[in-house]
């Protein structure tokens, strides 16, 4: 009687081929997910930016600075319904700086306003920086400050 089927070695070879293919494919999926997440964050940044401009137009001044994940006072009404400053693993923070000396090439007594984005997803922050089209972005590798104006 002949016994047909696969030997253990053949099965192991097939498993090894699958493992190799998986190790090549998995790292290519991550950046796609991060880019999608960064696109969502840019959408949130634009929502915050528009809300801040609305507040400034209505009240004559920028919304006051707020803590991590806190909606700045006075901005809630200008934001889309249910908009939060924490989204999954990403936290937003509204920041303002008064600069008595201004910035290089800008007049004195300038106010700089920005959205600080904190996330542990380094790949998402890299993608976010590439998508951002504002004046300047600065920060560290787990926290990016996107200047609004």
């Amino acid at each position: 009687m002949t016994r047909r089927g696969f030997t253990v070695l053949e099965l192991l070879a097939v498993l090894a081929i699958f493992a190799l293919l998986a190790s090549l494919a998995v790292p290519r999926v991550g950046p796609v997910v991060s880019r999608a997440e960064a696109t969502r964050v840019i959408g949130d940044y634009n929502a915050i930016r528009h809300a801040a401009f609305d507040v400034r137009e209505t009240t004559g001044s920028w919304p006051a600075a707020a803590g991590d994940g806190e909606v700045p006072p006075g901005m809630t009404a200008a934001l889309p319904t249910g908009f939060g400053f924490t989204h999954g693993g990403t936290t937003y923070r509204w920041r303002t700086w008064s600069l008595p000396d201004g910035l290089p090439g800008a007049p004195a007594d300038t106010v700089v306003v920005a959205v600080e984005v904190t996330s542990s997803d380094a790949a998402m922050l890299v993608a976010l920086r590439k998508l951002y089209r504002g004046p300047i972005a600065f920060g560290t590798n787990n926290r990016i400050i996107l200047v609004v104006e």
Binding site: E10, S98, P104, G139, T140
Partner: protein, 162 residues
């Protein structure tokens, strides 16, 4: 029936049911014959299989152990510029507070900068600001030239809008 050959492109006449059965039987016979064909004995295949397996295992180990470079949102030069610009913003916040309150703020939080990475020390009318990026420390002492700190803005602007 005219006896003429079917014109090209014309639909062939439908098969009879027994023709289908014959076709299926022929296919089944061919599959059985193929399965019955003797394979190379394991003794012949073993060296090649072993070699293939070793090669695949080595490739897997190399691929899984390949160092992955963590993505960095900022280069080290941009991180330095960020730290310097952060010090400039903090310095301006302190000056703004001093101009309105008439004294230095007790902390950066009092000057409206909570939760930053900048260390602030004030004594009398002198204050210092320190930012740490990895092993590097960037410091500003009140009265020092601010250009390296405010100038970081230009570096960051060029990096953001190349």
């Amino acid at each position: 029936m005219t006896g003429l050959p079917p014109s090209p492109g014309a639909t062939p006449p439908p098969k009879k049911p027994w023709e289908f059965v014959d076709e299926v039987r022929r296919d089944a016979d061919a599959m059985v014959a193929d399965a019955a064909r003797p394979r190379a004995p394991l003794r012949t295949r073993l060296p090649w299989l072993s070699l293939l397996l070793v090669v695949l295992v080595v490739l897997n180990v190399l691929e899984w152990r390949r160092p992955r470079v963590a993505p960095q949102a900022f280069t080290s030069a941009e991180e330095e510029a960020s730290a310097r610009f952060g010090i400039y913003l903090a310095q301006q916040a302190v000056i703004h507070y001093r101009d309105s309150a008439g004294r230095l703020p007790p902390s950066l939080a009092a000057a409206g900068l909570e939760g930053g990475d900048i260390a602030y020390h004030a004594a009398d009318s002198i204050f210092t600001l320190e930012a740490r990026v990895g092993p590097n420390v960037y410091a500003y002492r009140f009265g020092q030239d601010l250009t390296p700190f405010s100038g970081a803005y230009t570096t960051l602007r060029m990096a953001t809008q190349p």
